[in-house]
């Protein structure tokens, strides 16, 4: 059997908050920086989503369907495409029509609900499932959680929601001597198969590709395919942010040419074969249980949840946010649900991260705030207004 190569790309855009002052609390309930969201989205659409979708579509056609891959597009991103760049949705639809692209399910708002509340997690997952079906006409079968967050408990919840396959990180501290290049299964629910990111090969593209200080620079498709072949195991999972192409790695560094050549080479290779996650899980047997008692993720050196919940600011914001869940359920108000979802986006907590010294570079790159403290103050002002609205609605109900 040929070695499986599984490409999966994460597509997400946060709903950035506007500068929301204390004086706005209770007076103005529009929380979002529409201008920034529109400008950023349109820029990335031009630099990344549209050209890369076009490239992949051409490659699928050229290689007669041998290129297979998967996307997970957060609900927050879908909303922004719909509003500011509907042509992006259209280009994903064209990819969907080829039958070579799998669309995965995640939490609608790219949230941390899997860690906070089973009920809210289910709510977000079902909402995203419905959105994928509505936009692309397919029912997602494979699950990937926000930032690949996973634990035995999270996996069990995902299985109970009807998914048989889930993606996560091949974190070194979990894997130990084991290789991420095999399929594993959840410790509690053996029916849930796990595909683990090969972080080394994934990051060669996502992080190191344009790094001139890297010993392997410049990376050629030929050499990369050689590494894929040399990798031991049944499968190599290359999971990365879709914004890698054209945004994090600019077009000028040759990333598009590399991807074109690499997909052609793998498709033509006798030992390698592209698979979607669903297909990989169907054809490969699990080699064993994987025990993950504490949550892992694909973020930072630690590969844990400390990028979002590592300091007291983040923890307090998170606790305050999820303390509202019961009231939201009682009220069941569409407008409130909508804002509640956007406030759950993990990005807001990420901006409050104080791990400046280890992974500060990557954190700064994505952060609209000068300091984590500003991020916290702004978020809490917004959340305070939201809490007032929730309490008012509760009072009206009674």
């Amino acid at each position: 059997m040929k070695k499986s190569i599984c490409l999966y790309f994460q597509v997400h855009q946060p709903t950035r908050l506007r500068l929301y002052r204390f004086f706005d609390i209770g007076k103005d309930s529009h929380y979002y920086d529409d201008f920034a969201n529109r400008t950023i989205l349109k820029r990335i659409a031009q630099k990344c989503y549209l050209p890369m979708n076009e490239l992949l579509l051409e490659s699928i056609k050229k290689n007669k369907g041998k290129l297979k891959l998967a996307f997970s597009i957060s609900g927050s991103a879908l909303e922004q495409f719909d509003r500011y760049a509907p042509e992006v949705i259209e280009s994903y639809r064209k990819l969907a029509e080829t039958g070579c692209v799998e669309f995965l399910c995640e939490t609608y708002n790219h949230s941390l609900s899997s860690l906070a509340s089973q009920q809210e997690f289910e709510h977000q997952v079902l909402k995203h499932k419905a959105a994928v079906e509505q936009y692309f006409g397919v029912v997602p079968k494979t699950f990937r959680n926000t930032e690949l967050i996973y634990s035995d408990g999270v996996g069990a919840m995902v299985y109970d929601l009807g998914f048989k396959t889930m993606l996560t990180e091949g974190a070194r501290h979990i894997m130990g001597w084991k290789s991420p290049n095999y399929v594993y299964n959840n410790d509690f629910k053996p029916g849930l198969k796990l595909l683990l990111r090969n972080y080394s090969l994934s990051d060669d593209i996502a992080f190191r590709f344009s790094d001139k200080g890297w010993a392997e620079w410049p990376l050629t498709a030929e050499r990369f395919v050689g590494w894929l072949k040399a990798a031991e195991g049944d499968i190599v999972n290359l999971f990365m942010d879709y914004e890698t192409f054209g945004e994090h790695q600019g077009a000028e560094c040759g990333i598009f040419e590399f991807m074109r050549a690499m997909t052609d080479a793998v498709a033509a290779d006798k030992e390698l074969e592209f698979v979607t996650p669903e297909r990989a899980a169907a054809r490969l047997k699990s080699v064993g249980d994987l025990s993950v008692p504490q949550p892992i993720s694909w973020a930072d050196e630690e590969r844990d949840t400390s990028a979002w919940l590592g300091n007291e600011l983040q923890q307090d914001a998170y606790n305050k946010l999820y303390s509202l869940e019961e009231k939201l359920s009682i009220l069941n108000d569409a407008t409130l649900w909508n804002d509640y979802g956007h406030l759950q986006e993990s990005d807001h907590l990420y901006y409050m991260c104080t791990k400046f010294f280890s992974d500060g570079e990557i954190h700064k790159r994505f952060n609209p705030y000068d300091t984590p403290y500003e991020a916290f103050i702004n978020y809490m002002n917004v959340l305070s207004d939201f809490m007032i609205r929730v309490d008012n609605a509760m009072a009206e109900r009674q």
Partner: protein, 430 residues
Amino acid sequence: MKVLMFGWEFPPHIAGGLGTACEGIVKGLAHNGVQTLFVMPSASGDEDQSCATILNASDVAVRNVSDTVEEFLDKVKFINVDSSIVPYVDPEEYFEAIEKMKREQVRETTVGFGQKFKFSGKYGANLLEEVSRYAQVGGTIAMEHAGEFDVIHAHDWLTYLAGIAAKELSGKPLVVHVHATSFDRGTDDMVDSRVYSIEKRGMEAADRVVTVSDLTRNIVINKYGIDPAKVVTVHNAVDFSGRENLTVERGVRDKIVTFLGRITFQKGPEYFIEAAAKVLKRTKNVRFVMAGSGDMMQRAIRQVARLGISDRFHFTGFLRGQEVQKMFALSDVYIMPSVSEPFGISPLEAMRSNVPSIISHQSGAAEVLKYALKVDFWDVDAMADDIYALLQYPALADFANKQGFDEVNALKWNNATAKLKKVYESVVNQ
């Protein structure tokens, strides 16, 4: 009676409270029949000159007029011109101003005799150098305007050397006015020795030392070793003329307890946060606001998050102009838990805006405000009690509000400067 007065700033272009105080003093003195020649490092020309003649030190050329001047200037040279920043941080809200000024600072430092020196009149990186230049100009002015004044009055350490120069070259008596000391800016073991030595020198050279509170008077006597007989307290006042209280529509129904000032060690922000957490354990219908910025802000935010009260405790950042009035208009209780506050004008402003205030015993304002509630800065239980009481018992809040309003309106610069005039008279007639 005529006075030659050295200040550092004057409205409308001010970074803090010193300029406002100087304006009040000058106007009050005029009311009491004292004429003022007010010198400042960098005047803009739009200062209100109805009560004083304003001299811009940047327009004065230092002349090589006599040996005495050179001799004096030799003495001034002990100041290290390469010094790093010594932010002058007494009155309210310098933190941001300093940051901004540091960026704008022009590093033009060489100046010889017969030349004008362009003062920034700010509190930036060249501060010590400006202080020594200001002394040179001060001496020159005293000679050029000899016979036009009976007494010299210098405000805070920035102007003390100018005051000393003027005294040496004119022979007129010197009054130095202490609005703040180094001990209000740092802790006892963190006092800037260069600033301290200028302060001490000014106080020793002065014929009288005026302090803004008895608290500061004690510091001057105990920490600077000044003879108590020549240290006089003249409490600050506040000029509310032409000010209307704002009415602001409220966004939140909860009561609001406000701290407004620099978020630094001296202002006691952590005690306020602890008290807030205690109050929130007993009642939910209250929000706390910390308005301002400063070097303890990040620590304060972490403390709030750790206590789990960040949905009820808000930070506004630095407030400008009208926003300050707006903040007072939104407040139900004002709190100033300062660890060390020479005077502290902000509770007066709060009470004038009909906001009952809680202030620490460790503030000069506590000596004059009968109708503010007073606690020790470290006594967070008492602080929480007082906040709770003002929120829950309308009778108390109404009483503190009405009496406090009348009380602060009675604190007039006309009265304070009448005292100041007596100080002048005591040294002129010696």
